[in-house]
């Protein structure tokens, strides 16, 4: 029998990194920057958090001395700084130097994944264990602390309250981003920059500033997705390449939600569910079919992409200038 109460929490846990990634990428794309470096940024965010908390845990004589406030603060700050630097790099290359965004993004992904695996591998060597992983159990326990009454509420608690705080942060950020994009002046101006930078420029909007802030903020949010994955989903265990292709799935989610962070909340959980559906569907001995189920999120994204382009409703289109550099004198 399909166990919904077991399925949903796992789908949510699987979906939260995607939610962080897609919210970050939506904000970035609204400014007209197509950042294909998001998978790399999420790796960097994850490993920077790991490095921070690794140094903190090892600086303590006894793990019991751990201050839970610092245990959260240090990885989060490290993660944000790491992803911010990636964002600044992307902006410097694409906004100031007007480089091709696809190429810059792909180079960032190469760099970021390499960065994550290299420092992951180096830390693993430092710990001197035989297993190719870094285990940050103590920090992870703090990240995974749930509300005290979660266990007393049965299935209801399990579905809604069984997550670490970052999961709720992800939802809040997505809803907030949606509000800012749709309901505030800043959001309107940001969308103007992404749709038609020349017109926005003429209206007195500082294009460079908007692109920088949106892209860097987007990278920081996406980086948190990497941190959530290591600290919460993976129980504080970093192993190289474990994050896999989730970064690309986050980019798929951007299209799937038609550039709406609030839609991304249920959609990321849906994608998380599709990602692990193969574990819950009884296929008997036929393991091969499970591989076909893993195709689902991508196929669904393609279908959405096709349908939105066929209906060609104006509000469902990608930002008009997505992927194009802006040069004021280039009319």
């Amino acid at each position: 029998m399909f166990d919904l109460a077991a399925f949903i929490p796992r789908a949510v846990a699987q979906g939260i990194p995607l939610l962080f990634g897609s919210t970050g990428e939506i904000i970035t794309e609204k400014s007209g920057n197509l950042n294909l470096g998001i998978p790399g940024v999420m790796y960097v965010g994850g490993i920077c958090g790991v490095i921070g908390s690794f140094l903190y845990e090892n600086s303590l004589a006894d793990p019991a001395d751990m201050n839970s406030f610092l245990a959260v603060l240090i990885p989060v700050v490290c993660c944000l700084i790491g992803s911010l630097l990636m964002g600044l790099l992307y902006c410097f290359l694409t906004v100031n130097l007007r480089s091709n965004q696809n190429v810059t993004g792909l180079a960032m992904t190469t760099f970021g994944v390499g960065f994550g695996n290299f420092f992951g591998g180096s830390l693993i060597k430092l710990t001197g264990t035989d297993v190719p992983t870094i285990s940050l159990g103590a920090t992870s326990r703090v990240f995974r602390t749930t509300l005290p009454f979660a266990n007393s509420l049965g299935w209801f608690g399990k579905i809604f309250f069984s997550y670490g705080f970052l999961a709720y942060v992800a939802v809040l950020i997505a809803l907030l981003a949606s509000y800012v994009l749709d309901r505030t002046r800043i959001g309107l101006q940001l969308r103007a920059v992404g749709e038609d930078p020349a017109t926005a420029d003429a209206a007195g909007i500082n294009i460079t500033r908007y692109k920088y802030i949106a892209t860097c903020l987007g990278c920081m949010i996406a980086g948190l997705g990497g941190l959530y994955y290591v600290m919460d989903y993976a129980n504080g265990i970093w192993s190289n390449d474990a994050f896999g292709d989730r970064g690309w799935l986050a980019i798929a989610l951007v299209i799937f939600t038609i550039w709406r962070p609030n839609v991304s909340v249920p959609a990321s959980i849906l994608f998380g569910g599709l990602y692990i559906l193969y574990l819950f569907i009884p296929t008997g001995k036929n393991l091969a079919v499970k591989e076909l189920y893993k195709m689902l999120p991508y196929v669904v994204t393609i279908v959405v992409l096709i349908i939105t382009s066929m209906r060609s409703k104006r509000e469902n289109q990608p930002p008009e200038s997505l992927g194009l550099p802006y040069f004021r004198e280039d009319r």
């Binding site: 007007r98 190429v103 180079a107 390499g114 798929a252 591989e291 992409l305």
Partner: protein, 361 residues
Amino acid sequence: MIHIAKRKEMSLAQASLIRAIAIALALVTCGIITTFTTGLNPISVYATMFEGAFGSARKVWILLQELSILLCVSIALTPAFRMRFWNLGGEGQILVGCLAAASCMIILGDRLPNAVLILVMLLASIAAGAVWAVIPAFFKARWNTNETLFTLMMNYVATQLVAYFVIVWEVPKGSGNIGIINQSTEAGWFPQVAGNKYLLNILLVAFLTVAMYVYLTRSKHGYEISVVGESTNTARYVGIKVEQVILRTLLLSGAICGFAGLLLVAGTNHTLTTTLAGGRGFTAVMVAWLAKFNPLVMVASSLLLVFMECGAGEISTAFGLNHSFGDILTGIILFFIIGSEFFITYQVRFTRKEKGGEEHV
């Protein structure tokens, strides 16, 4: 104040000089980062990389073989890029090519004479790659569906499709691997030319590179591709059927990617895995772009990236470093080259207040 203006055109010598400066700066930065993170002498690291890429005749052959595959994929993506069609689906198109070739080897391996089998594999892999590229092209031509994202998603569909067949054909059952296909009969393997395993691949790609250069610069098709890339409106105005050009070009692009898949399966690896394409679909995007979509220059740009890859393998064994260190160095070099393009396309003039024009990050 800094004033930025677009340049008319820069001579090749000047542009090459700027790129050379960028690479030199990148190497210095990489050296500093190497010392900083690993405490090693950067000169000896570079020497080891060089050793790893060119150290012995066998290493040079491996380098050339890797170069030929990467070059083949870059050649494949180029016509699409010249049309400003961002085909990021190289990875998937290679994989379906691999899948088609491998399935022919498995199913028809002992039923057809080798020459016929290889011909069938050729047709199947080319067709598979072409289909994989034409699907997004069709929707792009008909409904202007975003091709960057579409082709990107097709990669993962292809990966899972391969994963499915790997399990269907796994040997032994439950291992999750196919292993070497037709190891005893060598059915469907490319013949060795002049006693060398890799020479045939290299010759085929060399021919393809020149052919693509001629096609893009000397043929009517190549001209139409350039016009569509510059402006679809202009293309329509002069009577070019844009939809047809998009479909035709992507058919070609996908077909060559599929052919690269054939080279991987029949020429070198003789197996099928989900990671067989090894990120070449993405690396090739950068190779093609670095060469400004000129097939002949791509020989140089793919050499650079393959050198980094082969060198990284050597430093990881020689110094006990993680293999990913090579990715970091590659990333840094790419950032510098990407940044240097700005100084080739644009002219920076300083008026009155002096401010340093920074090139590196």
